[in-house]
């Protein structure tokens, strides 16, 4: 599973990455986490509001910081 996190470097984007790593670690799932921080790449992926997150190319979070529980559900599912 490939998880991409999109953000230019604002506080919320860092937080999202941190939370995702935490969930991946605690569940021990096999996921590759990529942080996309270049604005060109962010825009090319179709992201308009950050922070955003995609799982295997599908956008699942747009413009808000999900809770740990939300991230668990998303990654599980």
């Amino acid at each position: 599973m490939k998880v991409a996190i999109y953000g230019t470097g604002c506080a919320k984007c860092h937080k999202l990455e941190e939370l995702v790593r935490q969930v991946v670690e605690e569940t021990g799932m096999n996921a590759e986490i990529v942080k996309v921080s270049d604005i060109k790449d962010i825009v090319t992926a179709g992201v308009m509001v950050t922070p955003a997150m995609s799982i295997d190319g599908k956008m699942v979070v747009k413009g808000h910081l999900p809770s740990l529980d939300e991230i668990r559900t998303l990654l599980a599912g």
Binding site: G7, T8, G9, C10, K12, C13, I39, K40, I42, V43, T44, A45, G46, V47, M48, V49, T50, M59, K62, G63, H64, L65
Partner: protein, 388 residues
């Protein structure tokens, strides 16, 4: 709304029984919110009374109108001491009233406004806004862009991807600029606060002027065909237009969106509010009217530009600026100068400038900032003339 509409039930959750539970939950949640709102109104209406009661009846500070109250007798037995110390105590008393009133007042008002706006904004996603604006031309679309800028939620770190997302989807540059410009120019919290403290007319003028500047910005930029001043890669960017499946958001979801927004924004800006209120209280206690009026009073033509320029390097949230404005107003600074100061802080900010630089060539940015600055000066002078 949706809560009573049985047809919408299946959309609330996957299966029908769960949906009925969802509706019950939504009704319960709405009731809780209404009770909270009633409590809010009750407490809010007593704030001013409480601040004065505590300062003057409990702490026994002399009221500004008092002749010779208990506290003055204790501290200043002679007339000479009274003349010197008495005014200090009166001023300190005012500062304490200010603190006791503004602290709960600002936080309560901010919570309510952010909560309500969170609900309103759950109707306007950036995707929907882009859909409304894309592929059309003309002045009306610029005006629509300005109006949607006030209603669509985004934080300043999203300004850039939004900008490019709009441009590449075929939203005209003018409408995109109007959209981006109106968000900082018309701040919804500032709008509510102005309405509450200065009345409908002032709030309406603030809204009208902010939108007008945003529309003018968009119009001018589309007139001057500024597209060529975008950085090249923006024009060439090939954007994955993948649309997320349209989410159906329930009434309950909207309430949660509002609560979520309130929690997040309070968590982020409380420090600005605290600093603002402390500065305000400080102004109340230690700055004399003569000093500040000499600097920023109505007689000086340069007070408006000065206030604007002073505001630029200050980075704050409007919720932090309004207590300072309130304290300055108490010292006789005219309304327009205060508004110019506030808009300088909110609308002209250096971090934003640096962000925009990555997509626009300097000339375009200068034009943008020039128009906004000119707009602020017009607001300042106009208000100083209108409000006496």
């Amino acid at each position: 709304m949706i809560i009573t509409n049985e047809d919408d039930a299946p959309a609330v959750a996957g299966t029908a029984p769960a949906a009925r539970g969802g509706i019950r939950r939504a009704i319960l949640l709405t009731l809780l919110i209404l009770i909270a709102l009633a409590l809010w109104v009750l407490i809010y209406s007593r704030l001013s009374w409480f601040a004065e009661w505590y300062t003057y009846d409990k702490l026994l500070y002399p009221r500004p109108t008092d002749g010779n109250p208990a506290m003055l007798k204790q501290c200043c037995p002679t007339d000479a001491m009274l003349a010197e110390q008495g005014t200090t105590y009166v001023r300190q008393g005012r500062g304490i009233v200010f603190l006791l009133f503004q602290l709960p007042h600002t936080f309560m008002l901010l919570s309510l406004v952010v909560f309500l706006m969170g609900i309103v904004r759950s109707f306007f996603t950036p995707e929907r806004t882009r859909g409304l604006l894309a592929g059309r031309r003309g002045s009306l679309i610029i005006a629509l862009g300005a109006a949607l800028g006030v209603l669509t939620p985004f934080c300043s770190c999203s300004a850039l991807p939004l900008f490019i997302g709009f441009i590449t989807a075929g939203v005209p540059l003018g409408a995109t600029f109007a959209f981006l410009a109106s968000a900082p120019l018309v701040n919804e919290f500032a709008l509510f606060m102005l309405f509450e403290q200065y009345g409908l007319t002032i709030a309406a003028i603030y809204l009208a002027i902010g939108l007008t500047i945003a529309v003018l910005t968009g119009w001018l930029i589309s007139r001057l065909r500024m597209e060529r001043f975008l950085e090249d890669w923006v024009r060439q960017a090939a954007v994955d237009q993948q649309e997320a499946p349209a989410e159906r958001i329930t009434w309950e979801g909207r309430i949660y969106a509002g609560l979520h927004a309130a929690r997040e924004i309070i968590g982020r800006v409380w420090i600005y509010i605290l600093i603002g209120i402390i500065i305000g209280a400080f102004i109340h206690c230690y700055v004399t009217q003569q000093q500040i009026v000499a600097l920023l009073g109505a007689k000086n033509w340069w007070s408006v530009p000065l206030a604007t320029v002073v505001g630029v390097p200050i980075y704050s949230n409007p919720a932090g600026i309004l207590p300072v404005m309130e304290a300055l107003r108490g010292k006789g600074i005219p309304q327009g100068t205060l508004l110019a100061f506030m808009m300088g802080v909110i609308a002209l900010s250096l971090p934003e400038f640096l962000i925009l630089r990555r997509v626009m060539k300097p000339r375009l940015i200068l034009l943008f900032f020039g128009i906004v600055a000119a707009g602020i000066l017009i607001v300042g002078y106009a208000f100083n003339l209108i409000v006496k």
